[in-house]
């Protein structure tokens, strides 16, 4: 971004050279300042706000600090959904480990037993996962990509296994 001048653009020929240089320096300084501020913001925010994706087995293996946020993904275990008032409890499983999740609020439309799910929240001090967000999907055949990758890696799920009409029907729709 340069703001070079056409010769006629500035009235005093004597001041022109230095003034143009000065203004250009000022502009570069401003650009540099804003860019470094933006970069600092982005780096700081990335350090602070990203959320890792984990499966129940991974949580079982690692040392989780209560209160630390992450996304828990897996399948909703058959027969595990229990309603208690407006709170719902269910078990997320990757068929190796289970994790009990509590959530207060309405579940998304496509939340079902045996279906893939991604929840976001934290592990409570007394154990168990408290979700404040259960991710909904627009498409009944859609397996959250993170979950699908993990489950495929563990050989628990294959493309086309999901319920609903034929897998061919899953070819896209636009938002």
């Amino acid at each position: 971004m340069t703001i070079d001048a056409a010769p006629s653009a500035f009235p005093s020929p004597r001041r022109r050279g230095s003034s143009r240089k000065r203004r250009r320096m000022a502009l570069f300084a401003l650009v540099g300042l804003v860019l470094s501020a933006a970069t600092a913001l982005v780096l700081y925010a990335l350090d602070d706000t990203i959320v890792f994706f984990r499966t129940p087995s991974e949580i079982a293996k690692m040392d989780v600090t209560p209160g630390q946020r992450f996304r828990l993904g897996g399948l909703v275990k058959q027969g595990s959904i229990v309603h208690e008032g407006s709170t719902v409890r269910f078990v997320v499983t990757d068929n190796a480990s289970d994790m009990t999740v509590t959530y207060s609020g309405l579940l998304p439309d496509l939340f079902r037993e045996g279906q893939g799910v991604v929840t976001e929240g934290f592990v409570q001090p007394e154990g168990g996962f408290k979700a404040d967000n259960v991710l909904a999907k627009h498409d009944e055949n859609y397996m959250p990509k993170d979950v699908a990758d993990r489950l495929k890696a563990q050989g628990l799920w294959n493309e086309g296994q999901a319920p609903g009409p034929t897998p061919a029907a899953a070819t896209g729709a636009s938002k």
Partner: protein, 661 residues
């Protein structure tokens, strides 16, 4: 038969697009008027053929022709007519056909209304449009043909994804696509200018209406999508910082920057190299958006099942066009002549600041959207970058823009007077301070920052009209004179004022709905009543109702204020029979600009019904603000200095009519 005509028309359109991408550009180099003259008829022909093809697909949907794979997968004979039509673009193949239709429409518009463009520029622009057409027509024909037949054909279709059976979907994708694809015009003009090696103020004047048009449709498209997600997804959020949303926000941000830098270029012949780069980047971001949405490489709440193989094809198109244009830019841009020096405190200076922060904000959204992808590719670690990231980066970067926005129009070109501009802002600052104090003092709850947010929003709204007030001498001259002056103002002044005010209105909605929303989630028995947000809400019971291709279970809620019924809410769940898919239908009652929002949970065994009821103060301002912005864009577009094909310099209004410029 009709489907085959549609398919054949697409192939013919590809042939015309190939000719269009070669002959006029060649003609422009060889100074052959006949070859250059071919550009317009080719563009018109290409549009006619794609329109024919689109009509053929629409016909197949309307008549429920289940011998077409695409219709089987996305339609059902019992579906209401409007969703049969909107179903045409409610799927991958059809939405791409819509994309190409709009692309060729823009080409045809240039051909039809671009009479005043210099022959060579017009030939080059249409040539580049032809190249984009070739890429996308090839993509449709080779990977996403909507006219594939199935034999034997089934008796019934599989229906459209119920979430897409909504009036919102009927208009949201076309609006969004006009925006996305509209930026291809800015791209084509930029590439044509680079080929030509010449960019001047006239170029900026030709490219601005197209950018403005794309911008205003993108604004409406994003707002429409946001409102659709708000009422359709059933949890009442208006923006999720989801990759698919970010994909549409990025071109909007850089497109907004482009609009402003093009003004500088038009008036002052400065920032040329930068404006050209922005034009290239804005369309690149539009293509990136298409790639992100279509390929499903990112986990998104809005992602419909997608096909990664086709994503690769879009990635190739993206690489070719972005790589090619940037290479051309690297070669040609240094040769572009610079002009127009200006002082830091000037209209140009303010617009540079606007561009700087808008670009930085675009970059922040870009990083947040693509970082998970990059990290996974590099380390295999899966992460999600959520709203906190964007709130902490995008928010602070937009703040200076909101603060400077009202000042900029009060500054003169070249060298502005900061004190004078500040004097013009006294009213706006007064209103802002008053609002902040009142909100902080009298409104219960919510973070302290919210009061400042309200102040900032009102500052932006009132400040937006400071320039108009100054130029009409409102309150300083007799009203009659002010009125006379107001009529004489160029409509782009009014346009700018409304667009800026719209930003403030949207901000006000966002702040209020975020800070003062209240929500209850509860299980109610028929006959129960709760007090909520100053109203009494009684749950009367659940009712079963039949629908065309679904069955509804609706909860009936009566909302009373002091015993008087003021609204009824009927949140429902629909079971779509063809797909055996359950869907929440939220119910909304609007009070002024605030809304009461109810959604119903799954039926439970104990005779209770789970309900989520929330009150969202001023929430509709979020979308009304974008309508105000788009209205501003429309006013600006109506300015005769910018009108498509308007005569050049001679017909510009006399200097007396634009004193501040």
């Amino acid at each position: 038969m009709i489907a085959e005509i549609g398919h054949y028309a697409l192939v013919l359109a590809l042939a015309l697009a190939l000719l269009q991408s070669v002959l006029p550009v060649w003609g422009a180099r060889a100074r052959d008027a006949a070859l250059m003259g071919l550009a317009s008829p080719l563009a018109l022909g290409q549009f006619a053929l794609v329109a024919l093809s689109f009509a053929a697909l629409t016909h197949a949907y309307v008549t429920s022709d289940f011998s077409l794979q695409n219709v089987i997968e996305n339609s059902h004979s019992a579906k209401p007519l409007i969703y049969k039509i909107s179903g045409v673009w409610g799927n991958h193949e059809g939405s791409l056909l819509l994309w190409v239709l709009i692309l060729t429409l823009f080409g045809a518009l240039v051909a039809a209304f671009g009479r005043n463009l210099p022959d060579r520029l017009k030939a080059d622009v249409l040539g580049v449009q032809g190249m984009i057409g070739v890429a996308f027509l090839l993509f449709v024909l080779l990977t996403s043909n909507p006219f594939t037949r199935v034999d034997p054909s089934p008796l019934e279709g599989q229906d459209l994804n119920p979430l897409l059976q909504d009036p919102g979907l009927a208009i949201h994708p076309p609006l969004l696509y006009i925006g996305y694809v509209g930026f291809s015009m800015a791209f084509s003009f930029a590439v044509a200018a680079l080929i030509e090696g010449k960019v001047d103020a006239a170029w900026a004047r030709w490219v601005r209406p197209w950018t403005l048009m794309a911008w205003l449709f993108l604004t409406l498209g994003i707002a429409m999508g946001s409102y659709w997600a708000y009422y359709e997804l059933g949890w009442g959020g208006f923006w999720f910082w989801d990759p698919v949303e970010n994909a549409s926000l990025m071109p909007w941000l850089s497109g907004t920057a482009l609009l402003h830098s093009a003004v500088v270029m038009e008036k002052r012949d400065a920032l040329k190299v930068w404006t050209i780069l922005l034009a290239l980047l804005t369309f690149a971001l539009s293509l990136l958006g298409t790639f992100l949405v279509r390929s499903g490489v990112l986990t998104s709440v809005h992602a419909f099942a997608v096909d990664p193989a086709r994503g690769v094809a879009i990635l190739i198109i993206l690489a070719v066009f972005v790589g090619g244009s940037l290479a051309l830019y690297a070669i040609r841009a240094p040769a572009l002549k610079q002009g127009g020096i200006f002082a830091p405190v000037s209209r140009e200076g303010a617009l540079v600041l606007n561009n700087l922060f808008l670009t930085a904000a675009t970059a922040a959204v870009f990083v947040g959207t693509l970082y998970p992808l990059a990290l996974e590719a590099a380390t295999g670690e899966k992460i999600s970058v959520g709203p906190p990231f964007f709130n902490n980066t995008f928010g602070p970067l937009m703040l200076p823009i909101m603060l400077v926005m009202p000042f900029a129009p009060l500054l003169a070109w070249k060298r502005g007077d900061a004190t004078r501009a500040a004097r013009g802002m006294v009213g706006a600052v007064g209103v802002a301070v008053l609002a902040t104090v009142l909100v902080a003092g009298f409104v219960q709850g919510g973070p302290t920052l919210a009061a400042l947010g309200v102040g900032l929003a009102l500052f932006a709204i009132v400040g937006a009209f400071a320039e108009v007030m100054e130029r009409t001498k409102l309150f300083r001259a007799p009203l009659a004179e002010s009125f006379r002056r107001a009529k004489g103002l160029p409509s782009s002044s009014w346009g700018g004022a409304f667009a800026h005010a719209g930003m403030g209105v949207t901000l006000l909605g966002v702040v209020a709905a975020t800070a003062w929303s209240s929500e209850v989630v509860l299980a109610m028995r028929p006959g129960e009543q709760i007090d909520f947000a100053g109203r009494q809400i009684a749950f009367q019971g659940v009712e079963q109702r039949p629908g065309p291709n679904y069955r509804t279970t609706a909860a009936e809620l009566v909302v009373r204020e002091g015993g008087v019924e003021v609204a009824r809410l009927e949140p429902a769940r629909r079971l779509y029979t063809a797909r055996k898919m359950d869907l929440t239908e939220s119910s909304i009652a609007t009070f002024g600009v605030s809304q009461l929002y109810a959604a119903m949970g799954e039926a439970r065994g104990d005779g209770k019904t789970a309900l989520r009821i929330s009150y969202k103060p001023l929430v509709t301002l979020i979308w009304l603000g974008s309508i105000v912005m788009a209205f501003g864009g429309l006013l600006s577009l109506a300015d005769r200095r910018l009108r498509v094909g308007a005569p050049r310099k001679a017909a510009r209004p006399s200097p007396a009519m634009q004193p501040a410029e």
